[in-house]
């Protein structure tokens, strides 16, 4: 019975209030203790392996012998210049080993295109879910969650079936009499990779964008309307800026992993659609040069990190986030 409940004191809801320093220290120790299994996993399966990758990138492989003496040769080779010019897409590379640089630029470009496509496709869907769906919202969310969890390999595989020479689009158009011979330009090119990446990742961003839209205080929208803002102006001045941090985070969750994607270029990219992930795999297997593979993957991660941080700084991401968190 509520009348017999002891009145809540403010202190009862703040378990860590500074009664004594020791109680707070004990709380911190207990917290870290509970976290320790997860920390051990992260340390032993993320931090140490990446450390091992760094160490290996300073080794060299020649034939079947692995030379474990410290050298910068792999990095030197990646950045070495050469008289010989390599042309690619109208760009000239004076590099001794131009393949990784070209594949890196290509991967960044393809991944960027896919990311932009994903955000443009997902944003209206998330907007619809946040502002228009009143009933059966849970059902909509489940419908959008299922693709998120279906096998990535299968989503890519399905595009191979859709776009293939003997695939669904070609045979469909032929049986309708619209074309006489299969269209060969559908599969095994960069466009197929970008389309497949966009489709495979679009399910990942709808829900994060939806969450950032859902958090927007509705009374702000009412206030804007009451003060005479048109619907479009209200969107541009309130909804878009406040949902921007969440949208950018979601976009990065697509951009960063897709730069190093391996499955998609392998299945639908053909020779023209290869990306840097394919090179890493080849260096570790066929070319039997794991140290170079380690160096390439580390340089790739560093370039991605540098680009992302520069981008976030340029757009003032942290200020934006602080503003929308109010």
């Amino acid at each position: 019975m509520s009348s017999q409940d002891t009145p809540k004191t403010p202190g009862a809801t703040a378990p860590g209030r500074p009664r004594r320093d020791t109680s707070r220290r004990r709380e911190a120790l207990n917290g870290l203790g509970l976290l320790s299994p997860a920390l051990i996993v992260m340390l032993s399966m993320l931090a140490l392996p990446v450390g091992a990758l760094v160490v290996m990138s300073f080794w060299t492989q020649s034939g079947f012998t692995l030379d474990t003496s410290f050298t910068l040769d792999n990095y030197r080779r990646l950045f070495s210049t050469s008289e010989r010019a390599t042309e690619w897409m109208g760009m000239t590379f004076h590099l001794g080993y131009p393949v990784p640089a070209i594949l890196m630029i290509k991967s960044l470009a393809m991944s960027l295109m896919a990311t932009v496509a994903v955000v443009l496709l997902a944003y209206p869907m998330a907007y619809f879910l946040a502002f228009r769906v009143k009933r059966n919202k849970a059902a909509w969310i489940i419908i959008l969650t299922i693709p998120f969890w279906t096998s990535y390999l299968l989503r890519v595989f399905s595009w191979k079936v859709v776009l293939g020479y003997n695939g669904a689009i070609n045979s469909g158009l032929m049986s309708l009499g619209l074309i006489d011979a299969p269209l060969e330009f559908l599969l095994y090119n960069p466009a197929a990779v970008v389309i497949t990446l966009s489709h495979a990742w679009v399910a990942f961003v709808v829900l994060p964008i939806y969450v950032s839209l859902e958090k927007i205080d509705r009374s702000m929208l009412e206030a804007a309307s009451d003060l005479g803002d048109s619907k479009f102006k209200r969107f541009r001045r309130i909804v878009l800026p406040l949902s921007m941090p969440g949208t950018i985070t979601a976009a990065l969750m697509v951009f960063i992993p897709t730069v190093g994607d391996y499955v998609t270029p392998q299945l639908v990219g053909g020779t023209g659609g290869t990306m840097i992930g394919s090179l890493v795999q080849q260096l570790f297997t066929k070319q039997n040069n794991a140290p170079m593979g380690a160096a390439v993957s580390l340089v790739m991660m560093l370039i991605i990190a540098a680009l992302v941080l520069t981008f976030l700084t340029l757009i003032g991401y942290w200020k934006m986030r602080a503003r929308s968190a109010r």
């Binding site: 709380e27 203790g33 993320l46 140490l48 849970a138 049986s175 992993p257």
Partner: protein, 266 residues
């Protein structure tokens, strides 16, 4: 309202775009032909029967089930205390630790795969096996399981735990009698989603497996042979059904749990 209809139409088209290509797989898996081509030739279940007769497929399925089960049990067991710690305790460096826990979500899986490959083969000299695959899967399932559990633990009324503690229950008893039952829907979701992640994962399994295949690695190996396409379609459809059913069950349990405990909370 015109604009409202425009967005609704867009939403329907969006769902069609997301589901359409994937549903091509089950569609052609029942098609009585070696090629995945229109017009459809007729209904058959023979691709499923033939697929089932293949020894390596069954072996890969058993491997995937074993790994998935082991990975999800271990990962959830690690994620429960981690989620409790993050949602209930105050300690320095929490934001940094939390972002580190979520790191496997953004690092390209090929980087995780080769980093694990290097330390396993060159530093520890452990032969590749299903165990090494499982270890990699624990790493990528952990952020998902932890966030599912965190959102569940944040979702229910904390005063119930405080009441238990104020009434003199020791922490472990409070956990078993209050926190655990309330977190149970989240724990079940975490178990199901951890299983799906491992069951569907390809890149890490591809790099870290020895002679044994998991189901996605087996499927990938079949894609090279055009004449094995029908079997691959049938197998792919089967994997789709498994993950779809598990996701729906997990979502329903999670939603229902939230609704029944916090009536005001949708």
């Amino acid at each position: 309202m015109m604009k409202g209809w425009g967005l609704t139409t867009y939403a329907v088209l969006f769902i069609a775009f997301v589901y359409g290509p994937v549903l091509i797989l089950p569609l052609f898996s029942f098609n009585d032909s070696t090629f995945a081509t229109f017009p459809l030739a007729g209904f058959t279940t023979r691709h499923y029967v033939e697929m089932w007769g293949q020894g390596p497929m069954i072996g890969a399925l058993v491997n995937s089930l074993k790994i998935g089960l082991g990975v999800t049990l271990l990962t959830t067991a690690i994620a429960i205390p981690a989620a409790i710690s993050i949602t209930r305790f105050r300690f320095p460096g929490k934001p940094a630790i939390l972002s580190m826990l979520m790191l496997p979500l953004v690092v390209p899986s090929i980087v995780l795969a080769v980093a694990l490959l290097v330390i396993i083969l060159k530093f520890l000299n452990i032969p590749l096996s299903l165990w090494t695959v499982a270890a990699g899967h624990v790493l990528i399932a952990l952020p998902f399981c932890t966030s599912v559990l965190m959102s569940r633990l944040e979702g229910f009324d904390r005063s119930l735990e405080e009441a238990s503690r104020d009434l003199g229950s020791p922490p472990l008893q409070t956990f078993w009698r209050v926190t655990f039952p309330l977190a149970l829907p989240g724990i079940i979701s975490s178990l199901l989603l951890g299983f799906i992640i491992s069951f569907d994962e390809f890149v890490i399994a591809f790099f870290l497996t020895g002679t044994d295949n998991t189901l996605p690695v087996y499927l990938y190996s079949q894609l090279r042979f055009p004449n094995r396409l029908p079997g691959a379609l049938a197998l792919g459809s089967l994997i789709l059904v498994v993950s779809t059913v598990l996701v729906i069950v997990s979502e329903i349990i999670r939603k229902r749990g939230v609704q029944s405990d916090n009536p005001g909370d949708f």
